[in-house]
Symmetry: C2
Subunit: 246 residues, 2 copies
């Protein structure tokens, strides 16, 4: 989620190879963090391709000039160039396993969220498709999703705006994840969360919400209770005869 | 939705063959209605297969004995037998176009909801898969969905229970559809709605919610406003530093 107040990235940590083979893997990675930049990547889809991609980005891609350094997240000049480099690395990761998977029917597709800022640039957020092409998040739709996205999207569509304050953005994101986790067992806590305020004087927050997180449990319970209240408060359908009412 | 209070069926009416070819077609059909029975069918998926299925059910399937009448919704003895007959007719409908579609790559799959009651039997609701097999709705999960189901499912998961009153069931269903219609353009008003109270002395309601329905607009606006309020009322995340707050 990218709003006026800042960038909020949330990812779950559940990976599965079938319903009977579930593990915890980090899906929200910090690719570069220094005085002049912060670049983060969230992934959905094939774990093996994602790990290859991360290793390739860590090593760096071949330099363009003879005497240049390998191209890495530590030296790309802009977030747009960072997205291009990730796209290139994703192509490499796919190519390196193509001959192994060829005809196997195994789905090796991956989608990514790339967010952060470089130098004096603004916070930016990109969604990268499996082929390495990408779109950028814009204020009219201030969020992008990957993976199991439908269950949690109505909440984001309905209540997230460019001027939503950063606390509220975090709450919306957690409520969206709560909806998804209730409907799909393959999404689960712990959740990783990074909050990067637009204001550089404000503190960056990185936290993990564990399976027994008191705040998340409160949020989930309160939200359920308030949904019930909200529904009850809406007038009854006029097309139902009076005697339907309790 | 099948609760203690009764059966509520809701279907949209939007059919599309691509984003540039959208029509209004009824998807909620009354198959039989008489003193002793009420049987309804909602459909999702291929329109041509659905129409063939309806025609086959109308004509009736071949009689089992020599002197028997064709088997129709008007003479099946139970809802279970009705579901079996619909499954059989669906197989026929698929078989009759199989040679046309063979190898064309056109998706002719269909899913169905069959609901109603026969004689002194209880209200029952079945979900039928494309192959003609089916499951029955039970009190632990008092709803079944077909078609574009994910956007609207969290609302149902969260607030629908076996003892939810019939007015509230209708509201939950409409809110669920509202979420879906906001996220997917291929779902749209008019909505068809049938409410069958368990109590046979109560009136059955059949209505269509048009694109400019004042109650639905009110429900949608109120729901949006109350979601905002609900979110604001939840305590702020404790892991955000104080100065994030506005």
């Amino acid at each position: 989620m990218l709003t006026a107040g800042g960038l909020v990235l949330i990812a779950d940590t559940r990976t599965n190879a079938g319903i009977d083979n579930i593990s915890v893997y980090k899906k929200l990675h910090t690719l570069a963090e220094s005085e002049d930049r912060l670049i983060m990547l969230a992934s959905a889809g094939s774990l093996s391709v994602t790990q290859s991609l991360l290793s390739l980005l860590d090593e760096g891609l071949p330099a363009e000039g003879h005497d240049d350094l390998p191209r890495t997240m530590a030296n790309v000049p802009t977030m747009f160039r960072a997205a291009q480099l990730v796209g290139e690395a994703l192509g490499e990761a796919h190519a390196s396993i193509a001959h192994v998977l060829n005809g196997s029917g195994i789905d090796s597709s991956v989608s990514l969220l790339l967010g952060g800022r470089i130098g004096d640039g603004p916070l930016q957020l990109y969604l990268m498709y499996n082929e390495g092409n990408f779109i950028e998040c814009e204020p009219d739709s201030p969020f992008l999703q990957i993976g199991e996205l439908k269950y949690g999207k109505p909440m984001l569509d309905r209540t997230l705006q460019w001027n939503t304050t950063l606390d509220e953005v975090v709450k919306v994101g957690l409520i969206s994840f709560d909806s998804t986790m209730r409907s799909n067992l393959s999404v689960g806590r712990p959740l990783d969360l990074i909050v990067v305020p637009s204001d550089r004087k404000k503190q960056i927050v990185k936290t993990r919400i564990e399976p027994e997180d008191a705040y998340f449990d409160l949020l989930s319970d309160e939200w359920g209770r308030r949904l019930h209240e909200a529904r009850s408060a809406i007038p009854d359908p006029p097309f139902l005869p009076e005697f339907q009412h309790p």
